[in-house]
C-alpha cells in the first residue's frame, strides 16, 4: 500500500501540467497591517490597511472615503506616529479630523495651490524659459514623492478625491511604481483617495466605497451616514474558490453632534 507521501506526489505529478503543486499549501506571508478604527472595514481588509503598500479608497463624493482615511490617521497619530495629508484640492477639514481623534500636531498638511512657484526655482534667469506654474495635481504628486523619499511618515494620504477620473488616469504608471517601492522601503502606508482606481497594479488594496443611506432623528437632523464598501483588490490575500464576488461590508459613521449628544 503506498504511503500518503507517495500518493500525494503521484497526484501532483498527474496534475502538474494544469495545477502546479496542487496538494502543497502555498507559503503564507504575514503582512503587517494597521487598523482603520472601523471594525467592519478592518474585517473586510483582514485586519486593516497594509503597511509599506498603496491602498486605494475609491468612490464618488459622499461615499465615506475621507472618513475611512481620517479614521486611519486618528489611529496612527494617537500612538505618536507622524502622518501627512497631501491635499490636491485643499478640501481637508481640520475640525472633522480633530473630532474623529486625529492629533493635529502629528499631521503634516500640504495644501496644493495654483498660485505658486515656477517649475524651475533654481535660477532666476531660467524663469522666462520655464514659467509654467505647478498644477495642483503636479504639486500633489511631487509632494508625495518628497515625503515618501524622506521617510519617517507612517501614513501618507494622497487626496485626489476631487480630481477627475481622466486626470487621475493620466498619472504615469512609473509614478505609482516608484511610490510603491518608496512606501515599501520606508514602511509607509500610502492611502490614495480618488473617484476611481488610479494606481492599477501598484495598489495592494483597492476598496470601493459607496453611499447607502442616511438615518435621521424625527426627520429633523442627520444621525448617521451608512456606507457600503467593496474590496476590489487585495494583493496579499489568498485566492480561494469561495471568493467569487468581491467581499462587501456596510458600516455607518455617526455625525459629530449626535455623538456629543449621546455622551
Amino acid at each position: 500500500m503506498p504511503s500518503s507521501t507517495a500518493l500525494r506526489q503521484q497526484i501532483e505529478t498527474a496534475f502538474q501540467h494544469r495545477y502546479p503543486s496542487v496538494l502543497t499549501p502555498s507559503p503564507k506571508t504575514i503582512r503587517e497591517v494597521i487598523p482603520t478604527g472601523i471594525t467592519q472595514i478592518d474585517e473586510l481588509l483582514n485586519g486593516g490597511i497594509p503597511v509599506g503598500a498603496i491602498t486605494e479608497l475609491t468612490g464618488p463624493a459622499s461615499s465615506g472615503r475621507t472618513s475611512i482615511a481620517i479614521s486611519a490617521l486618528a489611529q496612527r497619530t494617537r500612538e505618536g506616529s507622524v502622518c501627512a495629508w497631501i491635499d490636491a484640492k485643499d478640501s481637508f477639514d481640520p475640525e472633522s479630523a480633530a473630532a474623529v481623534g486625529v492629533s493635529l500636531n502629528y499631521l503634516l498638511w500640504v495644501r496644493c495651490s495654483e498660485k505658486t512657484a515656477t517649475r524651475s526655482d533654481r535660477q532666476r534667469t531660467n524663469q522666462t524659459r520655464d514659467q509654467q506654474p505647478w498644477t495642483r495635481l503636479d504639486q500633489a504628486l511631487r509632494a508625495t514623492d518628497l515625503l515618501l523619499q524622506s521617510g519617517g511618515f507612517s501614513s501618507i494620504v494622497l487626496d485626489l478625491a476631487d480630481e477627475s477620473i481622466e486626470h487621475g488616469r493620466r498619472i504615469p504608471l512609473a509614478t505609482w511604481f516608484r511610490y510603491r517601492q518608496a512606501a515599501n522601503r520606508t514602511r509607509c502606508s500610502l492611502l490614495v483617495l480618488g473617484k476611481a482606481p488610479f494606481a492599477q497594479s501598484s495598489a495592494a488594496v483597492v476598496l470601493e466605497c459607496q453611499r447607502a443611506a442616511v438615518d435621521s432623528v424625527y426627520s429633523t437632523v442627520i444621525r448617521t451616514f451608512n456606507y457600503k464598501a467593496h474590496r476590489q483588490r487585495e494583493r496579499f490575500s489568498h485566492i480561494t474558490s469561495i471568493d467569487r464576488k468581491p467581499p462587501v461590508s456596510t458600516w455607518s459613521a455617526q455625525t459629530a453632534w449626535d455623538d456629543e449628544k449621546r455622551a
Binding site: 479614521s71 477639514d93 475640525e95 429633523t220 455623538d259
Partner: protein
Amino acid sequence: MSPHAKPASLYAAVHVAEFPAQSILRLRPDLQSSPTVILDGSPPQERVCALNSHARKRGVIPGLTRLEVEEVGNITILTRSAETETAARTVLLETLSQFSPRIEEVLADNACSFVLDIAGSERLFGSPDQIAHRLRETIVASGFRASISISSNFHTARIKSEFSRGISVIPYDRESTALASIPISALHLDLDHYETFALWGIGTLGELAALPEDEMIPRFGQPSRTWLALARGNADHTFHPLEEKFELKEHIEFETHIEQLDALLFIGANMIGNLVARASCRALSLSSIRIEMLLERSLLYKRLIQPAIPSDDRKFLLKLLQLELAAHPPQAAVVSLTLTADAGRQSKIQLGLFAPQAPEPSRLDVTLARLKAMVGPDRVGSPALLDSHCPGRFQMQDFSVINQHPQSQQVTTPRTSLRRIRPPHTLSLQTHDGKPKAFRDGPSRFEISIAYGPWQSSGCWWDVDRWDLEEWDVMATTTNGESISCLLIHDHLNGKWLLDAYYD
C-alpha cells in the same frame, strides 16, 4: 629669579597685512589668484589702499588713483568696505581666541594686528614653534595670510611680526638681535627725529640700540629711553586684553551687483562655512541664520532660516539657504549680503528602540523647505483649530516632530467627515416653503430630496470678521443619478447661497 632664567611671559603677535584686501578676498576665492586692488575714498579721488601680491607684481603700489590702476590693465578693482572689515576682524579674533582668551589689539595702518598672551599654553599646544605653526594653519583655514612672531617681550613680538614674513620665534635674550635689521620707522617717530637719525647714519633698530642711553637722553629727552628699550627688545608693557562679545556675523559687499542666485550661493557657502567653523570652535551649532541683503534701489531683504534643531552641517544649512532664496528670490540685484547666526547647543535627537518612526529632523527641514517653495510658505504645516464658533476657522503652524505629544481623545465610534470647498461655490438655489429645493452648481443641477435645517450661526458682530450664517444639511441628486450629501450655507451678510462642504 636669575637674570638669564626663562621668563613667565610669552606673546604671539599676529599681523595680517593689507587687511582691506584680505577681508574681501577671503570670501572671494575666485579673485585670490588674480591681481586685485582695493580703492578707498570718494570718486573721483579714489586711491589704492590695499592690494594683493599679484597686483604688486604687476607694479601697482598703494596711493595710485583708479585711472592709473586701469592703465595697468587686467586688474580687479574693488571698493573698500568698513562692514566687511569689521566682520573679518571679528572672525580673526574668534580664530585667535582658540589659542588664548587674553588678546590685545594693536593699532596698525592698513593692517589688523593682535598680540596673544600665550604664557602657560605650552602644555596645550606644544613648544612656541609648534604654537606658531598651529596658529598659522588655523588662520589660513579662516582665509587670512598672516605673519606670526613669538617672543617673551610684547613689543618685540609686535614689531617683528609687522616687519617680517612667515613665522619668527625669538628666543629669550635674543630680542635685540632679532630686531637689529628692522628699520627705525617701526618706532613711529616724528619726522624731525628721523632726519636727525639719518644725519647720524642710524637706519635700523640694531644701530639705534647700540647708542649709549646717557648720551641720548640729553639730546632727545625721556622718550629716547623708550625708543632704546623698544630697539633692544626689553620695553615694558601693561597688557590690556579685549573683551569682545561673541557674535556670529559675516558681511560682504559686491563691487558688481549680483543677480543670479547661483553666484550668491557660491559666496553664501563660504560665509556659512565660516560661521559653522567659528561656532564649532566653541562646541556650538547654528540654531538660526538671519539673511539680510541690501538690494538695488535701497531695498532691504530679510529672511530667517531656522532648522528644527541646531546644526553644524554646512551642506544642510547651505541647502536651506538655497531653498529659502529659491522660494523668496530677491526682487532686485544684490548689493551686499549679511549672514548673522544665533548659536545653539549641539543637540541630537535620542530615538527610542520602541518609539514610533518619525522623520529625521534635519531631513524633514529640507523636505518642508522644498514643499514650501512649491506650494507656498503658508500652505505647509500642521493645522491648529482656533477658539471660535465660526465654522472652518484654523491656522497653519510650523510642522515639527520634536517634543510633540498626542493631543486627541480616543473616539470609539466612527464619525463622518467633511470635505471643505475653498472658497465655497456660489449657488443659484430655489426654495420651497423656506427650504432649499434645488440648486445649480456650475453645469450640474441638483434636486434636493432631504434638507435638514436651518442651523443658525453668527458672531463677532463688532468686528470685520463677523459672520451670520444659516446651515442646511441636504441630500441632493443630479439628473444623471449621482447623489451627494452636502452642507449648504446661506450667508445673510452677503445674501448668497454657498456650497460649503461635502459629507464624505
